[in-house]
Symmetry: C2
Subunit: 209 residues, 2 copies
């Protein structure tokens, strides 16, 4: 049975999560969240043992949502390239789903130079996600969709880079063509992954002085 306390805690976290997407984890304020859910500061605070605890719970809630919205439905798609396409589609939808875009990207830039439990949790969640992406690429290789010599970690890197750029162009620059550019970049990445090793073996020439 679901108690009253758990219910309001869920409401608080939902609200705080949306606020985090626009204000960031550091931008979160007990007072502002309380105002938003129409509770007293102390009434809200009673559900958490500290502000950091609230932030950690917001992060955990976001991970749950992400898993449910992006990963889980993609696993119902056929292995290999179709599943990867589904991951990307869901990922882009996740970006759009919240008022301020992806919570993790927002948090990443605040926490990248702030050691602590908050940062550690975020890093580990990000590593998990990147592993999932690389794993999905490995499956695509096994299925014969991608080239056998594909560097799957590099694939994950470049896939992530596309989403990061989408976030940047869409949210900061408000570029209406951002989504199309992301898809173009993705298509090009997939194309290149089908016949790997082309550019990858070229050495990077330094710009001469």
């Amino acid at each position: 049975m679901v108690t009253k306390g758990e219910e309001t805690r869920r409401i608080i976290l939902d609200c705080a999560m949306a606020m985090t997407s626009t204000l960031g984890l550091e931008g979160l304020t007990i007072g502002s969240v309380a105002r938003e859910v129409e509770m007293s500061k102390s009434g809200l605070f009673a559900h958490f043992e500290s502000k950091q605890d609230l932030q950690l719970q917001v992060l955990a809630a976001a991970v749950d949502r992400f898993t449910g919205m992006v990963i889980a439905p993609a696993l119902r798609q056929p292995r290999g390239e179709p599943r990867i396409r589904a991951l990307v589609e869901n990922w882009l939808a996740w970006e759009e789903w919240m008022p301020g875009g992806c919570v993790f990207i927002a948090a990443a830039n605040e926490l990248d130079d702030r050691p602590g439990e908050l940062r550690d949790r975020l890093v580990s969640a990000q590593r998990d996600w990147l592993d999932s992406l690389a794993h999905a690429a490995r499956i695509a290789v096994r299925e014969g969709h991608f080239a056998a010599d594909l560097d799957c970690e590099q694939f994950a890197y470049q896939l992530y880079s596309i989403i990061l750029a989408y976030h940047h162009f869409h949210r900061l620059l408000r570029d209406p063509g951002a989504r199309e550019r992301a898809r173009t970049a993705f298509t090009s990445l997939v194309e290149q992954s089908r016949s790997a090793d082309t550019a990858r073996t070229l050495s990077f020439r330094e710009a001469s002085p």
Copy 2:
């Protein structure tokens, strides 16, 4: 002649800029900057008419530095691909130059949902920079280094995406291979730009339900 006030203002901005790279523009605090440069809060504040003014000046100072460190030296390189390589090299160096990485990326994620003059200035600086990148690509096309049908704006998008991913992997995940991954991605982008239109014309198939 350079007056005392201008000199300390320069010191303040230098310091505030470094702090911004790790704490962000919103994380900046009159008190913390004052403590860092060992001045009184009010003594420091006298140089600016408001906190927002300080932030704006930090942003302007960062743009100046970026121009001096990244763009200017690249213009001394031969037109076309060599210049683009120089831009990327300098850009990566700029990332490393400050304690917390690129100021603009840090600011971008804080400001993307906060309308105001601060945001407007950042956006316009970013647009300028993207135009420069696309322009550099256009020159490379004219020089025959890149394919005639290259989408230069798309090139700028994907080049930016590589740096964004570098920032993410290097600063948040502390991935020691981040720089190498960025270079690999860049090499692959250049390779693909030499013979464009391959993947770009493929349609992006939706993941079927």
